[in-house]
């Protein structure tokens, strides 16, 4: 069963534990500048929004890459960058409609979420359940459940 990262801004407190976990997992250092997930703070609205690669099925980054450095990791469906092949041309960062592929000046390669091989560190580190790694075929499950509860007419029906 394919799984997906589900990001729920309503639960995010902006602590950046996901960013720390991502950089620790992938770079061995606590450094949000090297994180593949980013929390945005929309201060005036009081909203914190975690944001990362959605692993598009029709992945424009992969199609745009001139050296075929981005491939699908079949176990997870993640679009993965091969450091050995990446030439750092940044075409994928232009192609990505969401901005979630980024260039790492330190390595001269691009970096993006690879779902940590199927055990995403960000989801494990999130203290509020704002980031979960769940069934890709039911990414809207939590929202459906919330609406189901809100629209449940059971009590009136039985009254």
């Amino acid at each position: 069963m394919e799984k997906a990262l589900v990001l729920d801004a309503g639960k995010c407190t902006g602590c950046e534990q996901c960013e720390i976990a991502c950089s620790m997992e992938n770079e061995g250092v606590s450094n949000p500048a090297k994180s593949r997930i980013k929390v945005f703070n929309f201060h005036d609205e009081g909203r914190f929004v975690p944001y990362t690669c959605t692993q598009c099925d029709d992945a424009w980054c992969m199609q745009a890459c001139p050296v075929d450095a981005i491939t699908v990791f079949s176990a997870t469906g993640a679009k993965v960058v091969s450091d050995a092949l990446c030439v750092g041309c940044k075409v994928c960062t232009i192609a990505c409609p969401f901005g979630t592929v980024n260039y790492n000046p330190a390595s001269g390669k691009v970096i993006k979420c690879d779902l940590c091989g199927g055990d995403p560190a960000c989801a494990k580190a999130c203290p509020t359940g704002a980031i979960t790694y769940t069934d890709a075929a039911a990414t809207g499950y939590a929202k459906m459940k919330a609406w189901a509860k809100a629209t449940d007419a059971g009590q009136q029906a039985s009254a």
């Binding site: 407190t13 720390i20 620790m24 061995g28 606590s30 450094n31 949000p32 009081g46 203290p127």
Partner: protein, 615 residues
């Protein structure tokens, strides 16, 4: 590892920025942040120096765990000789600025001298330079942060700055970062303003390495689980913030109101954490928009609030119709209960102004309380206040004074003196509810005896964050003691003071200690830092920090006579609630405290104590 092992020395007189290696001998003795910076300050300035002279220094300091994966590992501090107190000052803040400074590769920044004209410090990883700040002088914290981010086209720039309060010499001005996180107490922002330093803007992309990654991840994960499963850090604080305490402390009979004349406030429930969650009549939305976290914090006690758009304070003023830092318990108490004001929106607005202009809501609110008492006595009239009727509970007077104080205008300039100088000026120094010139926070020491000793002995003046015995006396953490009894409180206060000294030096938030003991903290520091860091070693660091701060104050001219409380708390018994009939029994606790500390009966550390602590 975990220390960047580099400090940045900024000479404002000469306009230079110089790199220095961190003194690792001192780091091993004082850990970081509060302790280590106090060591540097003690070595580098004359404790008798005028806090506002160029010879005072100001240190921005992080701890070894700042910027790491440890839960709440985002703390940083400002250490200086305080403008409000003349004592050693260490004001601690959260948000994201401290972690960013570490990511740029710096443990501390030491500011010395005074710039001839307003400047700000810009740090981009290894590069640091002073930049002309004349365009930002006179502007608010909010404008400055927004302006700097726009100017450098870098939304990820983190900014700590002073508002107008720090520029015009409000004695209790703070340094505000990330718009509503503050190193708020003791006038550290006033010192920054006196140096013509407007802001520090930092962007770091180097990150923080820990000594043993696997051991560190294991220790921090286990510790995070402890926080999540604890009732206070896992449920109470995320849901209600520190405001979870308003009703609890009121019922305890330890919620000071009307300048500590009473210990219970009739309007407490109107300004409580519970009230912040209730939908209001005008737009059906609650005051609390959501909870927010500082860097790395898995608790998330921060309040993000929105003021009722129809409220008199913000009607037609769009800049305040936003979600921003809401009321913490101390601010809600000082702005509200201390003055008898029960208008939640007015308090939230006053709190916004404190953040926007950079001043401490505790000292501000408490000083307004003292002024209101002088007004009720007829000592101050509308002639002095410029027409403001300073009657108890007057929300409009409070919010007007917040705006005036932030700009240093009218009677606001007198409020900006702090309660000690204000009450002295009008001939009633006993009405200043302060220790060493710093106003009390939100606990009346007649109803919570240990807090009296905490306040009296606090090295930075009255303060709840130096030994939060409320945890034991009210919440039963780590074990319940009787808040109305002074028995055994000397030992309790010392244990809390030493443990807190270590936590404040680590980069962690003291709120973790609602759930963590040093047994949870030591393994995290041990894995992050080189060398062995045991519980005993951390306690020794805490005790060393405490005695070093004490030594600084004694050298500055303070004596045991300053370890006291205002007459009102020692002579006038509480009138209502569980503490009715009680005064604070400081006279009983203090000699025991001195003896247990290894100090003389006059409150001076003995040579034996100093030798033992290598001081």
């Amino acid at each position: 590892m975990s220390w960047a092992k580099r400090i940045l020395r900024v000479n404002l007189t000469a306009g230079t920025c110089t790199e220095e290696p961190l003194n690792m001998d001192w780091a091993n003795q004082y850990l970081g942040q509060r302790g280590l910076a106090t060591k540097y300050l003690s070595e580098e300035i004359d404790p008798k120096v005028d806090p506002l002279s160029p010879d005072n220094k100001l240190i921005i300091a992080t701890g070894p765990l700042t910027g790491t994966a440890a839960a709440t590992g985002g703390r940083w501090s400002v250490i200086t000789k305080g403008a409000l107190t003349g004592a050693i000052a260490c004001s601690n803040s959260g948000g994201f600025f401290g972690a960013e400074l570490k990511f740029a590769g710096w443990d501390m920044v030491i500011f010395e001298g005074k710039s001839a004209k307003p400047v700000y410090l810009l740090i981009q990883d290894d590069d640091a330079k002073l930049v002309d700040a004349s365009g930002y002088w006179g502007r608010t914290v909010w404008d400055t942060e927004k302006g700097l981010k726009a100017e450098y086209q870098d939304p990820q720039l983190r900014v700590a700055s002073i508002g107008q309060a720090g520029e015009v010499g409000v004695k209790f001005a703070g340094v505000v970062n990330d718009l509503h996180r503050a190193a708020g107490r003791s006038g550290v922002g006033t010192v920054m303003g006196s140096k013509n330093l407007k802001a520090v803007a930092v962007r770091g992309t180097k990150g923080v390495q820990v000594n043993d990654v696997d051991a560190f991840l294991k220790a921090t994960r286990e510790a995070k689980t402890v926080l999540a499963e604890n009732g206070v850090t896992g449920e109470g604080l995320p849901a209600l913030g520190t405001q979870v305490l308003m009703n609890v402390i009121n019922e305890t009979g330890a919620l000071p109101t009307h300048n500590h004349k009473d210990v219970q406030f009739a309007g407490a429930s109107d300004i409580s954490g519970e009230a912040m969650q209730e939908p209001r009549r005008s737009d059906g939305k609650p005051n609390l928009t959501r909870n927010g976290a500082c860097f790395g914090c898995t608790i998330g006690c921060g309040r993000i609030s929105t003021i009722d758009p129809t409220h008199y304070t913000v009607k037609d003023r769009e800049q305040y119709q936003i979600a921003s830092g809401g009321l913490e318990y101390e601010a809600a108490w000082a702005l509200g209960a201390a003055n008898g004001v029960n208008d939640l929106d007015a308090l939230t607005f006053a709190n916004f102004i404190c953040n926007e202009q950079g001043f401490d809501p505790i000292s501000f609110g408490a000083t307004v309380g003292a002024a209101m008492e002088l007004y009720e006595m007829g000592v101050i009239t509308t002639k002095e206040t410029g027409g403001i009727e300073l009657t108890w509970g007057n929300a409009q007077a409070l919010t007007t004074l917040a705006e005036l104080t932030g700009r240093g205008e009218g009677f606001g300039a007198e409020i900006g003196l702090g309660s000690k100088l204000l009450t002295e000026k009008y001939g009633h120094p006993d009405l200043s509810m302060s220790v060493k010139g710093q106003e009390f926070p939100a606990y009346d020491s007649r109803g919570i005896q240990g807090m009296g000793l905490t306040y009296a002995t606090s090295n930075r003046g009255a303060c709840h964050l130096r030994s939060y015995t409320v945890a034991s006396e009210i919440l039963g953490i780590p074990e319940k003691t009787d808040p109305l009894s002074s028995d055994g409180k000397a030992g309790l206060v010392i244990a809390f003071q030493d443990a807190t000294g270590a936590v404040d030096s680590s980069g962690l938030c003291v709120f973790t200690t609602f759930a963590w003991s040093l047994d949870n903290i030591a393994p995290q520091i041990d894995a992050a830092c080189e060398g062995e860091w045991t519980v005993d070693r951390l306690l020794e660091v805490g005790e060393r920090v405490w005695n070093l701060e004490r030594k600084f104050n004694l050298d500055a001219g303070f004596t045991g006579k300053d370890d006291t409380l205002p007459k009102r708390l020692l002579k006038d018994a509480a009138k209502t609630g569980p503490a009715e009939g009680k005064v604070n029994e400081l006279g009983k606790m203090l000699p025991e405290y001195y003896a247990l500390r290894g100090w003389t009966p006059d409150g001076v550390p003995t040579n034996e104590t100093l030798d033992r602590l290598v001081l």
